[in-house]
Subunit: 514 residues, 2 copies
Amino acid sequence: MAEAAARKRARGGGGAARRAERTAVSVETARHIERNIPNFEVLNEEALQIIEANAETVLEEIGVNFVNNPAALERWREAGADVQGERVRLPKGLAKSLIAHAPSKFTQHARNPERNVEIGGRNLVLAPVYGPPFVRDADGGRRYATIEDFRKFVKLGYMSKWLHHSGGTVCEPTDIPVNKRHLDMLLAHMTLSDKPFMGSVTEPSRAQDSVDMCKILFGEEFASNNACMTSLININSPLTFDDVMMGAMEVYAENMQASIISPFIVGGAMAPVSVAGTLTQVLAEVMAGIAYSQLVRKGAPVIFGAFVTSIDMNSGAPTFGTPEAAHITYGAGQLARRLGLPFRSAGSFNGSKLPDAQAGYETANTLNVGLLSGVNFMLHACGWLEGGLVSSFEKFVTDADQLGALHKLAAGVPMDVEAQAMEAIREVGPGGHYLGCAHTQKHFKSAFWRSEVLDYKPYEQWADEGGRDTATLAAARVETLLERYQQPAMDPGVAGALNEYVARKKASMPDAFS
Amino acid sequence: MAEAAARKRARGGGGAARRAERTAVSVETARHIERNIPNFEVLNEEALQIIEANAETVLEEIGVNFVNNPAALERWREAGADVQGERVRLPKGLAKSLIAHAPSKFTQHARNPERNVEIGGRNLVLAPVYGPPFVRDADGGRRYATIEDFRKFVKLGYMSKWLHHSGGTVCEPTDIPVNKRHLDMLLAHMTLSDKPFMGSVTEPSRAQDSVDMCKILFGEEFASNNACMTSLININSPLTFDDVMMGAMEVYAENMQASIISPFIVGGAMAPVSVAGTLTQVLAEVMAGIAYSQLVRKGAPVIFGAFVTSIDMNSGAPTFGTPEAAHITYGAGQLARRLGLPFRSAGSFNGSKLPDAQAGYETANTLNVGLLSGVNFMLHACGWLEGGLVSSFEKFVTDADQLGALHKLAAGVPMDVEAQAMEAIREVGPGGHYLGCAHTQKHFKSAFWRSEVLDYKPYEQWADEGGRDTATLAAARVETLLERYQQPAMDPGVAGALNEYVARKKASMPDAFS
C-alpha cells in the first residue's frame, strides 16, 4: 500500500503536478512508433538459413570467451556447455532453447505511466545518443562534456515530441569522477524528465546503484518485478564477454531489468569484412549473450542488439550511413524476428565533424534503414556526431525533428473513403485547384508532416532573415527549447530520498578519474 | 552502310577516340543499377485494387481535358472515348488496353554504345537535375544560369562514375534566347558527353529539332527506329493535357523516341491532400497520357512518371523528403509495375537554400525511397536545390557521390562461401582482430563502398586542414573534376554537321526571350 502511494507520488500525482503536466510542452510526446508498414527484408530464406546454421557452428566449434567470470562458466557448465578454460562451446540448439525463455515484448515503465514504452512487436522506441565524451554547439565549438551539458540534453530529450525515451549517457559528464558520475546521470534522468531511461553498466556496483535508485523512484516491490530500466550491455567482439559488462547484466537480469545485448562491431576490424560473415558473428554473439541472460534469470527482458558499421580502409575510421551497414541492419532485423526477440539497431549515425550535409545524408540513410529494418529500440536516434565522439546540441534537435517524419511514415497509408478523396477529385475537376476545396480545408492541418526546424520559406524571406543554414536555425531552437523547459512535477519526498542516496553514495568513496 | 559508318564515327571510333576513352575518367561509369534486392511495398492488394478502381472511375466519369488539340480529340473519338468539347471520358478498360501496347522495358541508346541504358525491369537509371533557372556555387552564390553553367554541369555529369545519363535541362541557360536554347543544350549533351540524354519539350518544333539532331548523331535510319532520347512530358495536373507538351510527345512517339508521361503534383494544390487521393489522380492521369501515346504510335516507349511532393500549409511552399512523398512514391511504383510500365520518380529533392544539413536529410530520404520503390528512371538524381529553383554545383557532386551508395545497396548481400567468411571467423577467434587476417586482406578494397567527397579523417587532421564542411569539400571536388575533364572523342564530320545544323536553325529565326 505504502509502495503504491509512494509510486503515485513519485510519478507526479497531485494538483501541482497535474497543472505542470498540462503546461509542459512534452505532454504531446508520442508513446512509441507503431508500424503499419511492412519491414524491408534483404535476405531470402536460404540466406537466413545459411547464416543461422553458420552461427550455430561458430557457437559449437569456436565458442565464446567469458572472461574473469567463474560464476558464468559454472552456469554454462551446468547448462550443458563444453567449458575449457574461459572458452564456452555451446552444443547446437542450446542457445536457442535458452533464448525461448526471453519475452518477445516487454513494457519499460516510466515514472509517468503515460510515458511507458512497449519494446518489441511492431513498435519502435526512440532514445537519444549515448556515450560521447565531447559535446559541440554553435557557440562553444567542440569541448569535453560536463554534467551541465548532460542536464541540458536530458531537458531537450524531455521536450522532444518524438523521442520516447530519455536514454542513458547522453554525454559523458567528464567533470564528475568516473566512479560517481552514474549517480548524477541517473538523478538527472529521474528528476529532469519523466520518460523512461537507462541504467549504468560501467561496474556491477553501479548497476546495483541504478537498481537501488529505481526502487526509490518506483517503489521497491514495483521495481523488483517490472522493467524500469533498459541498459546497454556491449559484447567485446569478436566472441568475448567481459566481466564488467556481464557483471552489470547479471545485476539487471537478477532484478528483472532489461538489457540490450549488443555486439559493437566495426566490420573488417571486429568482424569479417563481408556482410554475411558479420551477420553470422553478430548472431552467434547475441545468441550466446541472450542465452546467458536466461541462465541468470529465466524471463529477464532482453533485446537483440546490433551496433555494426563499416570501416574506411584508407584511414581505419569507422564509417556510417553506408550501404553495408544498411545490409547488416536489415539482415539483423530479420534474424532477431526469427528468434522472437526485440531488436535494437540504427541511430543518427554519421562520421561528420559538423552538423552539415554529410551529417544529414548519413543520418537520414541510417534513420530510414532503422525504421524499415524493424528496429524496436533505436538508441542514438538523435544528437550523434563525429562517429559517436560528440553529442551535438544542434544535431540533437534537427535529428529529433526528423524522427517526426519516421512516425508519419510508419503510420502507413490511410485508405478510408475520406482518404480516397473521390468527392474532392469530382469537385475540382480538370484544370481546377485543390487549395480551396472542402476536402483540403478539412484535412490540411493534419495531412502533411511538418518540420519544426527546417526552412520552408521563400528565398527572399529566407535571405532577408539572414540566410541561415540548418545548424544556425537549430542553434536558435536549442535556445528556445531550453528557455521553455519546465521540470516535470515530482513528489518532494521521493526527490529528497534520491538526492540523499546520491549524496550518501558519493561521500562513501574517494574520487576516481579513471 | 554509310549510315552505319557515320554512326560508328559519331560514336567515337578510331585510334584517337580509343586513346581518349582510355584516359577519360568516365570510362568507369556504371551501366545502370540492377536491383538484387526486393522493392518496398507500402500498399496491400486491397488498397491497390481500390486505387485502380477509383482511377478507372475518374477516367470514365470525370475524364481529362486535351486542350487546343483537335487531332488528339479525333484520335480519342476513333478509339471509342466519349469526347465532349475538350473533355475526354474513357470507358473502363480502354486506357489499360491501349497501355498494353507500350513496352515494359526499352533500351535508350547513347552515341557510345557502352553507355546505352536499359529502362525498366529491375534496373535503375540515374539522370541529373532538370529545369532550374538559377545556379549556385560556393564562389558566386545564387544567380541566373548561363549556357556556360550548363556546359559545366554536362561535364560534371560525364565525369560521374554513378550517373548513367546526361539528362536534359540541367539548368536553364537564360543567356540564350528561349527559342534557341534547346539547340545549344542538345549540342552540349551530344558533344561534351557520350552518355544518353533528353530532348526538348517546350515546343513541338523543338522536339522536331531534337529528333533531327539525333538523326545526325546516330544516323537517320538508326534514330528512326531506336530510342535515342527520353524526354519529359508533364501533365498539367489535375487531369489536363496541354497542346505544347502533347505536341512534343506526339513528335517523339511518332519517331519512336521515349517519353516520361509525368504528373507534376504538389499535393493539396494540384491533387487531393491525401495520399490515396493523390495516387488515384496520378494513376488516372498517367493512364490517360500513356494510352494517348499509344494512340499516336503503338509500341512507342514510355515511362510511368510521378513527380509528387507535399506542401507546407503555412507558407504554401512545396516540401521535399517528407513521409507523404515517400508513401506516394512507394505506392506509385507498385501501380506502375502492375501496369507493366517502367517507373520514373524521386531524385535529390530538398527545399533547402544551401547544400547544408537540411539538403542532406531531405535528399537522402528521397534517394533511398527512390531505390526501394523500384524507380527505373530517376531524374533529378543529383544537383537539385531550393525546391528545384537552383542547380547547385556543390550538391551535384555530393549527391552524385551518394548515388554510389545506392549502387552498392541495390547489389544485395553476397552469400557465397567466401562471403560467409567462416574460415576468417575460425582464424581470428574470440578476442582477435580481423584487420590482419587473410580474408580481410583479400577483400578490403572492394568490401565497403567509400565516398569520394565526404570526410572520414580523424578530428585533428580535419581541423588542421581547415575544418572544412561538406559544401567546402564539394567545391574543391567540382574544381578538380572540371580540371580533369576531357571531351569524349567524336567524328569531326558529325560534330561539324551538328554545329552547322544549330547555326542554320539559329539564323532562321529572330531571338525570343519569352
